[in-house]
Symmetry: C2
Subunit: 339 residues, 2 copies
């Protein structure tokens, strides 16, 4: 028996929506969450694919997430949309505010979407790619929980604070990246811990603020940012722009709010969209060619653009109209179905 | 005899303006360039202080920079200002466009300034700090010359591509950072070369794309980005947003344009300004306190906020109303005076 189960794309969607609705999310939430997990799984991003259904169900079981919350979208300024998730998952709020964000960015050149009061578990690249599908460049940032020490520090203060960016390429998949400003993702440390493997140097400190390669000690201590003091500065920027700037929680406040419950972190998110057509004075085509010369020069020397592996997986999975997930995950997911 | 010369702040300003005007910059350019060098020198940022007068004079001597170019400021969209430097130095264009950028950011919540066709030599932090003085958060980016290899690459394609950020703090110096996305600044490699010192590992590759610690080989090869593939992705983002997005040159195009001349790089710059008051729905005070709790938690564990050393130097130099510069630099600068 294979260790993997093959699901058709339609089966994957149906499984996800059913589990979500069986556990208290309404149809709108179930669809918006599924859209993102589907996109991740289709690209073989296993960490943010169907695996996250477990967290969604844990989150709603903890009793604080409103699985039926309708987001409130406000025109908060000529170039600002505010989406209050009203204690629901972030994704429906994002989806509901997206048309207004696109419209404002195209009309004004640049616009921001502030999502507030949301539970958040998802990768950011599917969101910035939605904007580049509309011909816009986009940056997205979220805090998380205070697991990460600032450069020179001894304890967790910052979140894993991912930063995602997407640039639209005419007739091609966009140039997209989405990375944690921590050296490792939280889940990676957990994988090392379960496997009893030593962490590389420079990834974490223990509860006394001392460097450690012990994953258990790291889980009880703090993670470090990537790229030393530069990555640390960047992480603080994410903390500020996706927190106090938009009247929402820092990673430390979010962690306090969670009270140790196994739910998705609760906080805000910021997404900035910029229109290359307006910013280039209508010279989109010439500048698309200029960007393509840059990408070509990178690829020509054997370097990879971020997300290239993801796009290869996407094409493969779309062609065969299926994804593979571990049998253990599949069986665990089946236990969450009630219908 | 001391190796340093002490100049009063007024003497420093007078020296800088005189040298610039003696060498072909008009009064407006001389003042706007001096403002920024003055700010850097006052903060003991020697690399971007009076030292850069040498580059300014070299640049104008090379015959392509227009020392009298008046920038053209255009209202390029509800949230976009365009400043065409018209082949002059960037700083006068920035200064001329600043009021409109502030006005648009405060009115609309977020706005962008695209500076085009400018020669550029300056640190970015004085610019983003001008915006945080006006109560705005700001991000600035510029390309440079194609000295930096992408992660996994073998040759220079990207610039040192600095990213600067400033966050306004009520009653305090702002939270500001300004760093190259290359591991080292170009000038640092040059200092190692002159001193005959070996570079640390991971900073550069030679002309065959092989790792090197030889500074001479690094100057003929390429520098590496900070933080591996994440820093590389960030550098590409800077390249795109400060280049093709705003219809201006990439670092590679800028390097080709320079034809090896010893002048400041010619390209564009992007600055994004965001209004915390509008984005927080008018809750600036409560969110300033929230940001301060974050900063306090960082400092409390013995970590430093970026720019703290700079602010200490500033207070010291303002109090004594003087700066110190190396005697060798001072004497070299005196030879550039013609009046």
């Amino acid at each position: 028996m294979s260790d993997n189960v093959t699901l058709s794309l339609a089966e994957m969607r149906e499984l996800s929506e059913t589990i979500l609705m069986d556990n208290g999310f309404n149809k709108d939430h179930a669809r918006s969450i599924t859209d993102i997990m589907y996109a991740c799984q289709q690209d073989n991003c296993h960490s943010h694919g169907l695996h996250r259904l477990l967290m969604c169900v844990d989150s709603i079981k903890s009793g604080r997430i409103d699985g039926t919350a309708a987001p409130t979208i406000t025109d908060a300024g000529p170039s600002v949309v505010r989406a209050n998730a009203n204690q629901g998952m972030s994704l429906l709020a994002f989806q509901a505010a997206l048309p207004q964000l696109i419209e404002k960015a195209k009309k004004n050149g640049i616009a921001a979407l502030a999502i507030n009061n949301c539970y958040h578990f998802s990768a950011l690249w599917p969101e910035v790619e939605k904007l580049s599908e509309a011909g816009l460049a986009a940056i997205a940032m979220v805090p998380s929980h205070a697991w990460v020490a600032p450069a020179g520090g001894t304890r967790g203060t910052l979140g894993t604070n991912p930063l995602a960016f997407s640039w639209p390429r005419i007739g091609k998949h966009p140039f997209t990246f989405d990375f944690a400003t921590s050296q490792f993702a939280r889940g990676e440390i957990e994988l090392y811990r379960r496997a009893g493997k030593a962490l590389p140097e420079g990834v974490a400190i223990d509860k006394d603020g001392q460097p450690t390669t012990d994953a258990e000690a790291a889980m009880n201590g703090a993670m470090l940012t990537f790229g030393g003091y530069k990555g640390s500065a960047l992480s603080i920027m994410v903390e500020l722009l996706a927190g106090p700037l938009i009247d929402d929680l820092t990673s430390k406040e979010s962690m306090e709010f969670a009270q140790g419950k196994p739910e998705a972190p609760y906080h805000g998110e910021i997404i900035i969209a910029i229109d290359p057509n307006l910013l280039s004075g209508g010279k989109t085509l010439a500048n698309d060619e200029r960007a393509e010369r840059l990408f070509a020069d990178i690829i020509d020397q054997g370097a990879r653009l971020p997300s290239q592996r993801r796009y290869i997986a996407r094409e493969h999975n779309m062609k065969r109209n299926a994804v593979e997930i571990p049998r253990t995950l599949y069986e665990e997911l089946l236990t969450l179905r009630k219908s």
